[in-house]
């Protein structure tokens, strides 16, 4: 396998793993969301994420990787390359899930925007498809953050503390992978560093008018891109694979 293919697979796995795990986490709100309409909307966004990850796992399969179901549910914890942000439990406060959704989807939006001109056409095509879906995800996140910050004292303080708490984890989205330079040199991706700069600018456009400034000196929480995860991923994977582990390989899904 050429280095280029290794680098591309690394990128695809971490994107797919992020989407799969956040999709699962956000789906945990189904049935207990704050109001009915939001319950339905957030659950639907979570399904979009899972669908996107499925598309990426299928692309990986086409490139000679594992079967998409196996990739999603059949790997050891260390082989997952998701960031810690997506692994964290949903907590009891909707504000944390909204903060995570806000940071993650702004990053996804910009990532897909950059990947639309990826030199690997299959990925460029998927990025274009995901981009319009994520545009609404960003609209949804912005609307909630703005409304809660313009709501009561309590809603604002809870939103602000959730954003502050999630920020170092969000910076971990941009942990450079092992083949960053090659991805940039081959015009496959602009690189995590450049993506992070765009992201900082874009979230500040929303947060500054709300009077929220983030601690730019925060140390990012890293490790996920190299397989070092928070204590929350292993139990989550256990739960996610509870059914598939009961069946043998011949099971049709």
């Amino acid at each position: 396998m050429s280095n280029k293919v290794i680098a591309l697979k690394e990128l695809l796995y971490k994107m797919a793993d992020d989407q799969l795990i956040i999709g699962h986490r956000n789906a945990e709100w189904i049935g207990i969301g704050p109001v009915l309409e939001e319950d339905i909307a957030f659950g639907s966004l979570a399904q979009d994420k899972t669908g996107q990850s499925w598309n990426l796992y299928q692309l990986l399969e086409k490139m000679g990787g594992a079967n998409a179901d196996k990739a999603a549910f059949g790997r050891a914890e260390k082989e997952y390359k998701c960031c810690h942000l997506v692994e964290l439990p949903i907590g009891e406060d909707y504000a944390f899930s909204l903060a995570r959704h806000f940071y993650f989807d702004h990053a996804e939006y910009l990532r897909m925007d950059a990947l639309k001109s990826c030199a690997y056409p299959d990925l460029a095509g998927l990025a274009k498809k995901f981009h319009s879906e994520i545009k609404y995800h960003v609209f949804h996140a912005n609307t909630w953050v703005k409304n809660l910050c313009h709501g009561t004292e309590e809603s604002k303080s809870r939103m602000v503390s959730a954003l502050a708490y999630a920020f170092p984890y969000a910076l971990g989205i941009f942990e450079p992978g092992p083949h960053e330079d090659l991805l940039v040199a081959e015009n496959l991706f602009i690189g995590e560093h450049a993506l992070r700069e765009k992201w900082i600018g874009q979230i500040a456009d929303i947060l500054s008018p709300l009077g929220i400034s983030l601690n730019m000196g925060s140390l990012p929480i890293l490790g996920g891109r190299y397989g070092y995860h928070s204590e929350h991923l292993a139990p989550l994977l256990q739960e996610m694979t509870a059914v598939i582990r009961l069946e043998d390989d011949s099971m049709e899904w």
Binding site: L36, I40, A41, Y136, F139, N147
Partner: protein, 129 residues
């Protein structure tokens, strides 16, 4: 004992089991409704598709999109506060009745109707040949 419910709003009220609730719906606890209209393609008329609860128009649009337009077939959404809709009363529903003797006002009695039917029939037969 604290009342435990599947409805998170009830849990948040923090009340004892069996106690009579005191004062409950605060502003923002219960959002007003918005009527949702979706347009299938540009140039079509917007059609009423349902309602959503929302604190304001922007949030109503965000929520309406996933309730009523998540499977495509929509290019534009409108939301209107239900309270802003002006409506007739069901008590006055008889204003829509019309006198039977006035069928001349309805497009059912054209003299050319038979002719039109004959033409349609012949066209159909032609197509079938």
């Amino acid at each position: 004992m604290k009342l435990v419910s599947l409805d998170p709003r009830v849990c948040r009220m923090d009340m004892a089991e069996g106690a009579a609730p005191d004062a409950l719906i605060q502003e923002n606890d219960h959002w007003p409704t918005y009527e949702v209209f979706a347009q299938k393609k540009r140039g079509d008329q917007h059609q009423h598709v349902g309602i959503v609860h929302a604190p304001n128009g922007e949030m109503a649009l965000v929520l309406a999109k996933e309730q009523f337009a998540r499977r495509g077939m929509c290019v534009n959404l409108w939301v209107v506060r239900t309270a802003d809709v002006v409506a007739t009363s069901y008590e006055d529903a008889d204003i829509f009745d019309s006198t039977p003797q006035k069928t001349h006002r309805e497009p059912v009695d054209y003299k050319v109707k038979d002719k039109i039917n004959r033409y349609n029939q012949s066209k159909k037969e032609k197509n079938e040949q």
